[in-house]
């Protein structure tokens, strides 16, 4: 009986959070991208569908559903179909371990805010899943049987594998400070603004930020879909909702990366000031709501940053990308680990 309740609780959370992500992270992300790019280019942006054009992404998705789903004759049909599912599925499933707010206590029962937030290897799970995400893009490029798609897929896998190294090493600093892989514990240690990890790990944060730009295939590292050289990149041969899935996955990935950065370096769902100052009781619903919106706001700021960078910085050349990854970021990440170790040793 007990196990059924646990499963039911997880299921309800999953439905709520996934709806939230798809609705806000992906749809609002697309809207924000179009709106902000328009503002930066002195345009207005979508403003016809709904208030401020807010329903534009839904119109876009509806259009994609109506479109013919073309599959090239020479494509490997099975993998061609699986690739977008892998990409979007991975992008969404990372949210399983992300805690959205502090625990709520009702009576003597404690509810965790997240699908499975007390996973003790949370951050490892995130890294593992994002590595699997490479398969989606590589398979998409390969199964299309198109040289441009293949090149896009190859670039993407090379890029993501290279930057995963510096990303993982940049993380080590945070893990050394927190002494845990659990996201809940990492967040728990950053309870006020002057204990946020970004203050102790500025270099680590910078490395992580740059690497996550590469991991999510966003400009300045969007080589997999470099339009001038690769037609459309790995998604050239995709149409209809299959293309839509890649499209949504990009935004889901972007908000995942933002969420991870907020959790690791910017205090996660923790309010900038102690909850007692605001008169909110630990474990109360009011505090959890405040924390949730606080977390969402921080993610939104990071998503804005991603978009802002995309419309400012030009794309790196492929050799520059590899040089930066292997010759600059990786040594710096190692240096960061060393500095953190010295810092912890001195303060003990």
């Amino acid at each position: 009986m007990d196990i059924i309740w646990v499963l039911l609780e997880a299921l309800i959370k999953a439905v709520v959070i996934l709806t939230l992500i798809l609705l806000f992270a992906a749809a609002l992300g697309v809207w924000a991208e179009r709106k902000i790019s328009a503002w930066i280019q002195n345009r207005i942006g979508p403003n016809r569908v709904g208030p401020f054009g807010l329903l534009q992404p839904f119109a876009d998705v509806f259009k994609l559903f109506m479109k013919e789903d073309l599959v090239p004759k020479a494509a490997d049909k099975k993998f061609h179909r699986i690739a977008p599912i892998i990409t979007l599925g991975i992008a969404i499933s990372v949210y399983a371990v992300i805690p959205f707010a502090g625990d709520i206590q009702i009576g003597d029962k404690i509810y965790h805010m997240g699908i499975a937030p007390d996973v003790n290897v949370g951050i490892l799970f995130v890294l593992a899943l994002t590595s699997v995400g490479v398969y989606g893009i590589t398979l998409a490029g390969w199964s299309s049987n198109n040289k441009y798609s293949l090149l896009g897929g190859l670039r993407s896998s090379a890029q993501m594998i290279s930057y995963e190294l510096s990303m993982g090493l940049a993380l080590v600093g945070v893990l050394m400070i927190a002494g845990s892989l659990s996201l809940n514990e990492i967040v728990g240690k950053q309870d006020v603004i002057w204990r946020w990890n970004v203050i102790f790990q500025p270099l680590g944060f910078l490395l992580f930020l740059v690497s996550s730009f590469a991991e999510t295939n966003r400009t300045p590292f969007d080589l997999p879909e470099a339009e001038p050289e690769l037609v459309g990149g790995y998604n050239t041969e995709y149409s209809g909702m299959k293309f839509g899935m890649f499209f949504l996955a990009e935004y889901a990935n972007m908000s995942t990366a933002s969420a991870i950065m907020v959790l690791l370096y910017f205090g996660g769902w923790q309010l900038p000031v102690p909850a007692e100052w605001l008169g909110l009781e630990q474990g109360s619903i009011a505090l959890a709501v405040a924390q949730f919106f606080n977390f969402m706001l921080k993610i939104a700021l990071f998503v804005f940053f991603f978009i802002w960078v995309r419309w400012t910085v030009p794309r790196f050349r492929y050799d520059q990308l590899m040089n930066l990854g292997w010759k600059v970021l990786l040594p710096l990440a190692l240096l960061n680990v060393l500095l953190t170790a010295i810092g912890i040793w001195l303060l003990k």
Partner: protein
């Protein structure tokens, strides 16, 4: 040895090679752009009215006592896209000739304005119409009923032609 520094790494100084300060500068620029006035025109609500120099849909000038065209066929001859078809007929009026049939295929028209330039009577001019919509090929062939426009609506263009032609 006098070798010019030419590779990218040699041309940049250390500060520039850090990337981050230069990127921050660029991002400051784009951030400021976000608050600048927008150039967008809300088209269907906010219509753009061209000046006299604009070459829109070619039309026939219709004066109060009848059309100007004498059906000489020069426009039809000069049209590089072969869009104009004219058939002349005779009348009892002062101007002895008039076009019995005058058709412009708007799917062929390239808005070059040669017809206007060659016209000895200033009878065919480019108007300000630019939002042309057709739902069939037949509909796109404009006959005299649609081509004849009263002279009062074409004053801007006629004025422009008088000045620059």
């Amino acid at each position: 040895m006098n070798i010019r520094k030419n590779t990218e790494a040699e041309r940049l100084n250390f500060w520039e090679k850090l990337y981050i300060p230069e990127i921050a500068k660029g991002m400051g620029l784009t951030f400021r752009q976000m608050f600048k006035p927008k150039f967008t025109r809300q088209y269907p609500e906010e219509v753009w009215i061209p000046t006299g120099s604009y070459r829109g849909r070619p039309v026939l000038v219709n004066e109060d006592d009848g059309e100007r065209c004498v059906a000489c066929g020069l426009c039809s001859r000069v049209c590089p896209a072969l869009a104009i078809e004219v058939q002349a007929a005779e009348t009892e009026r002062d101007k002895e000739r008039y076009p019995e049939k005058f058709e412009i295929n708007m799917l062929r028209c390239i808005y070059c304005g040669f017809c206007e330039e060659v016209c000895p009577e200033e009878a065919i001019v480019m108007s300000k119409d630019y939002d042309l919509v057709f739902t069939s090929q037949e509909e796109a062939i404009l006959g005299k009923d649609k081509l004849l426009v009263n002279i009062s609506k074409l004053q801007d263009r006629l004025e422009f032609l008088r000045q620059y032609k």
